[in-house]
């Protein structure tokens, strides 16, 4: 990740962007000839839930991947709690993703050979939590999402809604500061969509987890506190008063 370019360098940690948890400015990312992001900006406060909307192909996923430290933008900077993601090593970013960030994707992502419980306990065990403790906490998480019945089933054996709830359990089990969700209900019917979204909102609110919610559906975006719209790789903040 390079902070060089036309954008100003990231501000020093102490000159703080207010209480902002994660801030990004001037993000740009191209894949060969395709420009996926171009001067995108983003802010999120602790416990805030921001929907990222936009047509398919507008660059939402790319933005989420950049913000989550999964890929490095070509230009621009990202500060998480005052730390510059671009200045971190790959393993530091890995550690960050493992501990402070949680991820929820449209589908897949659970290790097919592990039971739902083992899947859920995975992030804890990666963070060095013992097996027993990890299992107990994972089970609690599954219970709170009303899928503790699937604990000993394989991901291939549960329904789509249950699958996403187990994925949600795994994303939240390590109590991340930010949850990145990319079209988390894209593959679900309305009823399951609602179930998953309500559980997501509840859980996030209870643990004061900030949520970056990428979606192209207004119904899903309506769960958020505000929207950011991506159009042709540029962000537009729709929140009244904050519009740029």
């Amino acid at each position: 990740m390079s902070a060089a370019g036309t954008e100003a360098p990231p501000p020093a940690a102490d000159e703080a962007l207010g209480g902002t948890l994660l801030a990004a400015r001037g993000l740009a990312k191209s894949f060969g000839p395709t420009t996926a992001l171009e001067r995108a900006s983003f802010d999120i406060d602790p416990g805030e839930m921001v929907a990222v909307m936009g047509a398919s192909g507008s660059g939402k996923t790319t933005l989420l991947h950049c913000l989550g430290g999964i890929i490095a933008p070509d230009r621009g900077w990202i500060l998480y709690e005052g730390r510059d993601l671009g200045a971190m090593s790959e393993s530091e970013r890995s550690g960050l993703r493992c501990g402070d960030f949680g991820f929820l994707f449209q589908s897949g992502g659970l290790v097919p050979e592990l039971s739902c419980l083992e899947n859920t306990a995975l992030p804890l065990r990666l963070n060095g939590v013992g097996r027993r403790t990890a299992d107990a906490r994972a089970r609690e998480r599954l219970e709170s999402l009303d899928v503790d019945g699937t604990a000993h089933q394989r991901p291939g054996e549960v329904s789509g809604g249950e699958y996403q709830r187990v994925s949600l359990a795994r994303a939240l089990v390590a109590e991340p500061a930010i949850l990145f969700a990319d079209e988390p209900t894209g593959a679900l019917d309305s009823l399951n969509e609602e179930k998953v979204m309500r559980l997501l909102v509840d859980a996030a609110r209870r643990s004061n987890t900030a949520v970056v919610l990428v979606t192209h559906e207004a119904r899903v975006a309506a769960y958020a506190d505000r929207e950011v719209t991506v159009r042709d790789g540029r962000t537009r903040d729709l929140a009244p008063g904050a519009a740029g």
Binding site: V201, A218, R219, A222, D225
Partner: protein
Amino acid sequence: MSFAHTVLGLLENGPAHGYDLKRVYDQHFGQDRPLHYGQVYAALARLLKKGLIEVAGTEQGDGPERKRYAITDSGVTDLHTWLGTPEAPQQYLQSTLYTKVVLALLAGRPAADVLEVQRSAHLKSMRELTRRKTEGDLAEHLICDHALFHLEADLRWLELTAARLDELATEVNR
């Protein structure tokens, strides 16, 4: 006519006083704004005149005299017909918003802004409805969902129109 039909539907459960009707209506449908008592009596009067309901008796309480209304056979038939008839879908060509967009394009104003402002407003009210539905009971939930799906449909139209503004502009200005 639909409000009168709502009153008729409520009476199908059994005879009721006008005041009872208002209370039950508010409980089920009155979230947005409570009903005026007068509206209820206006509707009841119209229904009486059409013979769809009748006065089933008068009660003398400590207050004023209260009439009890009951549904008639033709009232039941009418209610049945109403429930079985689909609502005529609103023709979007006649919608105000379409009119606004076309007017903006004709006048050379930024039509995209019209849509954007509208989208923002839609999203705002959707957020509000979502908040209400997550806090409310099942009835509230269902009602909010209904509104949400409608708003979402509008929103889709807004997005689609925004994507086709150029096309529309050439057509309108031809």
